[in-house]
Amino acid sequence: MSLINEDEFRVCPKTNFRVFRKAEPLMIANAVVAVLALAIGGVAALIMGIHKMPIRFSFIDNSTYYQVVNIHGINMLILWIVWFEIAAVYFASTAMLNSKMASMRLGWGAFALMLLGTLMLEWTIFFDHPNSTVMFTAYVPLKANPFFYLGYILFAVGVLVAGINFFLTIYQAQKTKSYPHESLPLAVYGVFVAVVIAVQAIINGAIVMILAYLYSYDIIAAPNADFWKQVFWGFGHTAQYINISATAAVWYILINIATGAKPLNEKYSRFAFMGYLLFTVPVATHHLIVDPAYSMPFKLINATLIALALAVPSLIHAFVIPGALERQIREKNHSEGLFSWLRELPWNEPAIPAVIWGILLFGIGGMLGSIQGTYQLNMITHNTLRINAHFHLTVVAGTTMAFMGLAYYFIELIPARKIIGGNLKVIQLHLFALGLAILTLGMFIAGVQGAPRRTATYDYYTSLGVNTFAWQIGLWLLGIGAIITVTGGALFVGLIVISLFFGKKVDKEGSFDSPIPTNVEEEEAHTNKLEAPGSMSIGFVFMIAFIVFYMFTFLVLSRGWKIGVPI
């Protein structure tokens, strides 16, 4: 590895990866913006949670509620997630491959574009209410301030530039053989898939945002609303497969750092990542199942049948990751019991609660998603609060918690500061997960009974047996869950920010004599026994619960009025 210039790199003393020094400030800068967005979105979350509780105790009026939902959606789903992903993308393509960044100029250029876009978005959603309160979905013919769309466009172009830089960096790492072997490490492969999906997503996003931008200046008439909506979700839902690919990649990193666990079968996991790439395009249609624009076969095939295939990769990861942990612990400790390995996991590492809670809740979120994506069942779930239950389980419990877990290691590896507060970081993750469980249960209970999402108050629905005690249980749980989750989230922001600036500095400079980390080639031991019987049993319980739940939802549907003609 004589190619490595020893001035430009340092050796990470913990992992022995060669870290490109110039890329470090860029990664940190991206991560810092991400955490700031999370903090803003978190304040918004608390305000919404309290406003939704069925008591007259709120900081805001109903109109402002919509502004807060807008601020929350954009800061969380768009800004926090994507900024952090860009930091992770750089981390994976430089540090994990011992590589230089292809171009620092592109890196900082992307940062500048994304930041400019971010500021435009923040400026319009904070100071141009209600004009720019159109939610992150911005469905035309709603019309926001042109700078809102311009912000979106600049942000997307910035992400695209970052993605190009990522591909160039991978290419360069391959060419200079900065890491040993030809296949990318599994986690980098997962990130690679995520960035490829991102390119598709950004193209769709650019089309609709440019159309909306022109429309906001009245240069063109309002685009067809359902066409716009379909292409928007070609960005919006495709982006969720960026998130899950990145999340799974982070899960593999975390279990590896915490226990050394390898995937059960490399091929199986790689196939799963590939699956996200193959099936993402048609799923955008599942946002239009109850829209007029398409006929039954189109909606049924794209929105439901192909989308079912997308459950496959997630189901694979959700089994393989706990399975890998289980096999690792069994080998190390010779644990025999079906579930004793769970107890023996290193629970003092933030990786473990982030992964175990993440996968458990993500699994439930996936079940809810499969239900509401089902052609007929969409009709009793669309736009209710149970949709929010679904995606807070996936993109918050799954993605956000995985990123939180990774952030704790990131701070100790890149800026090389010790996380303050000892075990507080682990408690933080437990608290966040507990809060989310309550929050999403509340959303589900209210949503099942018909409480619509993005609705400031249900006080006007006085006509019938709605908005009764049974709704209120859900709304109370939602509020209480929100308070707990935001407490957990605030603790995360506090720990990260304080550690970054005031944490104890840890040793940064390892020795170039220590070899670049590489895989220890092991013979696969072939046994006829199950390697992960515990995870398998939990998986079975999950599946049976799912089937019951699925059938039950159809039963509820069948009690409704006759609608739509059977053919």
């Binding site: 919509y66 599994l186 009974q449 006759k562 739509g564």
Partner: protein, 193 residues
């Protein structure tokens, strides 16, 4: 390892017993869901409507206003909560229009008042036409035990046949964010014996 390169011949390692069993489980689950949803299309009584015509907002409003008239079996009436309604006691078409922030059934027979309710007879089959004349709205009927949620999109006449099987007064709400008065957007639907 996941963070370094994989074993040399990773693609040659066959799937283990765990992976095979799990794949079987996944396939079964997909088949179960797939057959359930396809089967319901052919045999179930509740399926998302998929009939529509493209129509401009002005034309939708004028069609709705002229179609909802007494000669076609629709006449102005009152709901049990006192709101003005259009009553339709024979099978047939009825038009409902969404506009920020109301649901209304326009008709040239209303003598200037607005009907934000419609009244039906239980067991008859109706053809409901939904349309918006500004932004996206969400048509949702909230009941105690079940709901219906359909998207109302400007530029389309979205129509479907339905048969109310229970009586009572139902609230129509808007479940798609349509502006800061969104939570006040109400309509009514009454089914009588």
């Amino acid at each position: 390892m996941s963070i370094t390169n994989p074993n040399k011949n990773w693609w040659k390692v066959p799937l283990g017993k765990d992976e095979k069993i799990w794949s079987g489980v996944i396939i079964l689950m997909i088949l179960m869901m797939g057959s359930m949803t396809v089967g319901w299309v052919f045999t179930g009584d509740q399926n998302p409507p998929d009939k529509f015509t493209s129509i401009s907002n002005e034309n939708f409003l004028s069609t709705a206003t002229s179609e909802n008239v007494a000669s076609k079996g629709v006449f102005p009436g009152k709901l049990s909560n006192g709101n003005t309604s259009l009553d339709r006691f024979t099978s047939g078409d009825i038009y409902l229009v969404a506009q920020r922030f109301t649901w209304f059934a326009p008709s040239s027979d209303l003598n200037g008042s607005t009907a934000n309710g419609v009244k039906f007879k239980v067991g008859l089959t109706y053809r409901m036409h939904l349309g918006s004349i500004d932004v996206l709205h969400g048509f949702q009927i909230v009941g105690d035990n079940w709901i219906i949620s359909l998207q109302v999109v400007p530029g389309y006449d979205y129509y479907f046949d339905f048969t109310p099987t229970t009586t009572g007064l139902f609230q129509i709400i808007c479940n798609e964010f349509c502006g800061i008065g969104h939570h006040t957007m109400l309509g009514f639907l009454e089914v009588v014996a």
